[in-house]
Every structure is written in structure tokens, then in C-alpha cells.
Amino acid sequence: MTVNMTKGQAIDLQKKDGGTLTAVRMGLGWQAAPRRGLFGTRTREIDLDASAVLFADRQPVDVVFFRHLVSDDGSVRHTGDNLVGGVGQGGDDEAVLVDLQRVPVHIDQIVFTVNSFTGQTFQEVQNAFCRLVDETNGQELARYTLAGGGAYTAQIMAKVHRAGTGWQMTALGVPADGRTFQDLMPAIEPVL
């Protein structure tokens, strides 16, 4: 059922029966990679942060992140900051809920990003993934694994954008550097 997405792949957010999705959840999960060293089993805590930036005609209009958990219009909600990750197998450590029907009419793209707030690069992160879930029935629509983590501290994960009357999701997987979403704005620009 789940589509394992690859970089750049786009999927339509439509239900099997042709109905449109009403609410989706962008979930983010990760675990800190075990550190080699004297205390080999000790892991360090890694704080990844999920953010969602709302664009209207390539202009950022609103942002949902750990300091602004709900977009002004109420359509995009962050479930709260998780500072350590590692909730468990397949569980979401942070999630952003999007009520697609209520997204204001002028918003045409929502970009999801991940930043390493504590500064570790993705080399030190294990089992990181982002996935899109149909919030109404809990079914996973798409999963994108952050494979091949490199020496960067942020990633532009995916975007959900209007296509016709419905919405489409595109996996982006663009590496970038920055502590919060503000640092990523130049990197987001080209993928809009």
C-alpha cells in the first residue's frame, strides 16, 4: 500500500476510490546513531525539528514550527517539539497535521523541512524517515527514508502542492544547512 518514494518522485494525494484527502499528517522519526568510543553504547541526544512553510505564489506566508505550533488559519498544526527522537519502531517523533480542506485558498505549496537543532549532521542519525499518513484512517500514503545521511544539518523533505482541484506530494530530499527553517529559505527557493 505504502509508496516508498525516491527523491524527486511525485504522487497524487488521492484516495483509491477517487475521493480527495481531507487531512494528512507528515510524520518524522529518527534515532540517534550509536557513537563509537570508550562508552560504545552511549548515545547522544539529537534534536531534529520538523517545520512546515506555507507559500502563496512563491512567497512565504506562514510557518509552523516548534515556536509557532499552529498556522494562523488553524489548518496546519505541529504536535509539539520532541528533543530526543527515538519514539520507537516506525513511530513519529514529530508530526505536522494538515487539514487540506481548510488550507486558505491562496496557499498553493506547503514545504516540509527537517533541521538538526543540536547541530549534529545526519551522519549521526539512524533510521530517519518522513512519511505522509492519511489522518482520517491512519493509512500510510508515502514514506521517504532519509538514506545516505551526509554531512549536512538540514533537509528539505517534501512538498505538498495544489494540482488541479486536489493536492500532490513531491519527495524532495534536498540537503541543506541550518539550525531552523529560516536558514533554509534560500535552499527552499529553487524547489518551489
Binding site: 488559519d73 488553524g74 497535521l97 486558505p104
Partner: protein, 725 residues
Amino acid sequence: MTAELVRGQNLPLPEVRLEVRVRADGPVVAGATLGDEHGTVTGGERVARPGAPALPGIEVSGQAAADHRIAVDLAALPGAVHRVSVLLALPSGAGGPVRFGAVAAPLVAVTGPDGTEVARYTITGLDTESAVVALEFYRRQGAWKVRAVGQGYAGGLADLLADLGLPEARQLANTIDEATAQGPADAVAAPPPHPPGTPGTGRIPQGTAPAGHADEPPGATRTGAADAPQSPYGTPDPRSSGGVPSVASGAQDAATPPYADVPGPLDGAAGPHDSTPGDRTAPHPGPAPTAPYAVAPPSDAHAVAPPASATDGPVDYTHPHRRTAPPPPSPPTRPAQRVVPPAGPGQPTRPVAGDATGWSLDERLYNQVRGMFEDLARTTAAYRSAVDFADSRRERELDKVLSDPRERTGGRADAAREEARARHSRLVDQAREALDRDLAQLRAEADVVEPALPPAYARWDNPVWQGYQVPTEHPMALRLGDLHLPESTGLRIPLLVRLPLERGLWVDSGRTGSAGAAPADTGELRRLALDTATALAARLLAVHPPGEFTVHVLDPAGSGTSAFAPLLHSGLLAGPPATGAAGAADVLGRLTQRVDLVQMAVRGGAPDALPPGFDTSGHLLIVNDFPHGFDDRAVTRLRYLADEGPAVGVHLMLVADREDAVGYGPLLDPLWRALLRLTPVPDDHLADPWVGHAWTYEPALVPSGSQVLRHVLTRVAAARRIRDR
């Protein structure tokens, strides 16, 4: 643990022997129908009602009353019964109210055999309906559950019964009406229905029928079965034997008509409560098409054959139209934080009062109002943001046309400009459409929530104030007024603040900032400010239990005498309004001392160390015309009260024009900021916590010419006198 049900909610039942208690504002008729697996009631013999109150497994009271206890034994129901609907109706022709909207919301509670409450449900949101299905018990996978239904019928019992599939609904409704109208003579005394020799299972609802007479003095006519209405599940009654209660004949002799004994139902009633399966099945052979107790009713009033009574039924329902529940104008797509309960069977989903989380109905309504507040703030934010974006995009595009020399003139420029404007209006139209959809939904919700609000949350013109009862518990929040936005025409959100107040109030009697909202001259503004303050003080007095809230008035110039008159005349003030500098010093001194004392006790961890008889009630100090009559010492004391008072239940309400205090310079700015500013005329000065819109506040004023304030204060004063006696 009592579950407070909302409409549509269901709950598994821990027991099969239950009692349904009904409490209404005035007399209501209670009945119950037994439906098959499709919910259909096949005939009049499946309806327990006045005139035929007992059926296997269920027994209702024989007449209209404000309180009912309906005994239910789900295990004793015939196997074909899958649904038991408990219904309430207003008695017709009695000259009482003809619609539930005119009386306080009825309460139904389901209790277990030991009297512990399993669930309760307040039937809110009724309007023109005169009959309502309150609850239903239904079988689900072999177990029984209860569901709060609350489906009302403007056409009364006839429509209700017809909706349950009863073929002769109208006739039966007339029969019930007649039996009710004939009044107490037809009431059936409660049988103490213990089967002999089963003391262990004899925890039988004894008080069932007599509970209908709860308005009457208990000792007057009650006999054995009914003399302990508060504990209906007492130990087995030793006086009953052989299924025929020995007290029954005594009751008949001694009792005046309300308790005329009818032996038939008594005999029958033993059956449904019998816990022995063999006994149970013997007299009730399943879904018999005729009444199993056909031999029982000896009196004419109990002749239940529907056609017979239809012919001479005196009552005709002139409003046969069932109220059709209008679906909300748009499918509810609530923001994620609120949950819409599933609609009951056959009902369209529509907004329901109390549809939010919370431990009590008050808390649910509070949270619901807060949810509506947030929804309106956010949906308006979405609209404004879209319109702003459309505006700026149009400007950008028009600028581009202007700045391009090739396109500056000629047909292409015109076309480009036209296109920019069209794109603008398309987007604005879309945004407006989304806003209208949300506003319509919120309006539909407000339409059901407003009438369901308790007095503390309700507008003064809400009927709940007409049926006002002095509360026994502290309220959770208080309505200070209404809020609205320019976009939300016709939609007013109640401004509720939690009690005890965390900050003082300032009713601004000066000129307000907004130009559109300054119709009044200074004198008029001051008068309105005083009215606002009086209405708020009266509301605070009314929503606290008697004697738990005290109001002091400080009116140094004596300019508020007429406005404070309702408070003064009711005798609810701690004393007459203090005037002059000396009066101010005295009141402030006493309250300061009180705050200091309570603070010391609380901080010292010794709240018991307060003097004996120390009254722990909340206090409100109204100061009119601040800073008139205040010297520096008094101002300092007032600031102390504003800062320290709220934590120990001493609150402040200033009625003041800031201009009057201009002589103090910036020294009083922190005081003004610490108070919640209210205006006596609509003014947009309040911000919401989510998006920060400027909301227009309107005070909660008593409608002009209304006597509701006097009426309510009189009741509060009476309750306080009773308490102090």
C-alpha cells in the same frame, strides 16, 4: 463515576437492573417504548405510559410529575425487544408550557441498583418540541448499552410515536394525554415488587411510581413502598409477600386518589423483576401481540385499546409537523482539535451543545465556546490573509504592466490589467466562499449553544434567567459580554472568563478610541458604564451560591446612586455605597486588612489559623469615579488590592475615565494595564490569544425594560435569608 453524556454518546451498562431518574422544571409525562431489532414499536402494548405504566422489565409513573423514577430490568425484557426508548412529553391541556424551549433543560440520569449514578444527560437544545426521546437502551452484541438521544418532536407524542413506527400513534398519544389529564386518580401506586423468597435478588426499585409525586409531602399519603424515596434500593421489603404487597390495601384505604391502588399492574410488576428465569418466561411468552396484563386494569382510565379512546379523545394535536432538524449548511469539517460525536441513528450530523471535552456540562460548554472563539479567529485569519495576498498580487501585477514600456499602453496593457483584476476577484471570491462556509457552520453551532448555556454564561435575554435557581456550586466562568469581528455579521461569541477572576475589571467610562462607537456624550457614557458594572456585579452575585460572594461599593461622589439601586434595594450589598474620602478609606482599609490576613495564613501554610467565623467568600469592590475622593494613601491601597487581591478572592472593578487620573502622570499606567478593560459601548479593543485580531467587545447589558435583574436579585436575596436563618 458518573459519565456526563452528550447527545449521541453511548455507554456500556454495568448492570441490567437500573433506574432512570428524570428531573424537569415542571410536570412532564414519562414513558418508554419497547422496539424490535429495527427499533420499530409494533403496537400500543409495547408502550409503557400513564394508563398502562408497567410492562415486563419496565415501569413508568402513571402521571405527569417534575421528578420521575423509571424502573428498568433489561434482563426481564422479552427477547424480541432490542431497543428501549425513554421518552418525555409536556402534558397538554394543563395550561403549562407547550414547548421544552420555555423550560429549563430536563435532566435524565441512569442509576445502578445501589443508587450510584452511571450516566447523566441534560437534554439541551430543545426549542419548539413538546416531546422528546431522552435515552435509549439497546442491545449490542448481547450486552446492553445506553445512548443519549435527545431527539425532539414539535408535533408532540403523536409524531414521536409515529416516528418509532407505531401504527396508531395518534390514538395512543390521545390515550396518554387523557390518562394524564385525568390526573392523580389514575396514578398507580408503586408496587414493592419483590418476588417471594428471593431476598438476595430483591433489590428492586421500590420508589418507582411514587417518585412522580415528589412534589408532595412525603408523609402525607405515601405508604410502605414509597416512604424512602431517596434510597429506592433498600433492603427487601419484609412486608411484601406472595407477590402481592400487604401494604397495598392499606394504601388504598388511607390514601387519597393519587395512590388509588390498582391490583393488576401490581401482580404483573412482580414478574419483570423476578430474577428467576423460569418465572420470567412463564408469564411473558415473548413478543405477545396483546398486552400481557390485559386482565389487570379494572378502571376505565386503563382501557388502553387505542381505537376506543381515540374516538372520545378530547385533545387534538394542532401541530402535527415534526420538527425537522435542519442539517448544517455545510458538512462539518471541524478543525482537528474538536471531535464531532457520531450522529444518532437516522439523524443528520448537526452541531450539538456541549460537544467538547470536559468533566461537566459547564466545562464542556466553556470549552466549546472557546473552540468557537478560536475557530472564528482562525477562519477569519485565513480569509484576511488570502485577501491581503490577492491585494498585493494585484498591485504587483499592475506595477509590472506599468513598468514595462512595451506593454504600457494599448490593448495588451488593458488585457493584462483586466487579467490581474480578474485573478484578484477570483481569489477573493474563493476566500469569501470558504469564510461563508465556516461562518454558517459556526452560526449553526451558536444557535444550539446559546440556548443551552447556564446562567453564568448566558445573555440576560436567555430564558434560563427566567427559570433562574440559586446555584449550589461555584461557577466555572462568567460571561462578560460578546465578541465579534467585522466579517462575522450576526455571529457573537460569548466572552467567558474563568472564575475566580485572575485580574480586575475596568469599565471605561471615558471616550473610546473607535470613532464609530462614540454616539454618546460623556454623561451617557458614564451612565452606561455604571449599568455595565451593575449588571456584572449582579451576575456575579447570582452565579455564586448564596452568601459566597460579597459586593462592596465605593462611590465617593455619590454619582452612581441610581445605577446601583437594584443592588442596594435587594439588600445584597455588604453595606450602603461608601461615600466621601472617609468612606473610601474605611472600605479600602478593611479589604486591605483582609487580603493581608488571608495572605499571611495561606503563605504561612496555616489556613486553619484564621479567626473562627471568618467568612471565606469572594469579594468584589466596585469603585465608581476613580480617582475621585482618593488620596495618595487610598490609591496605594487600591493598587495593593489590584495586585494582591485576586489570589485571595478579593476582586476589583473600577468604573473610571482614564482622563480623570491624568494628574497622576504615568504612575497609574501599571494599574490600568493590570485590569481587563471593558467598554460600555461596542469597541474593538480586545485581542484573541491565537492570531491577535482586534475584536469588538459588547457588554452584557440587561435589555431595557426587562425585570430580569430585579427578579434574579430577589431570588438571590431570598436564598441568602434562608441560609442565614
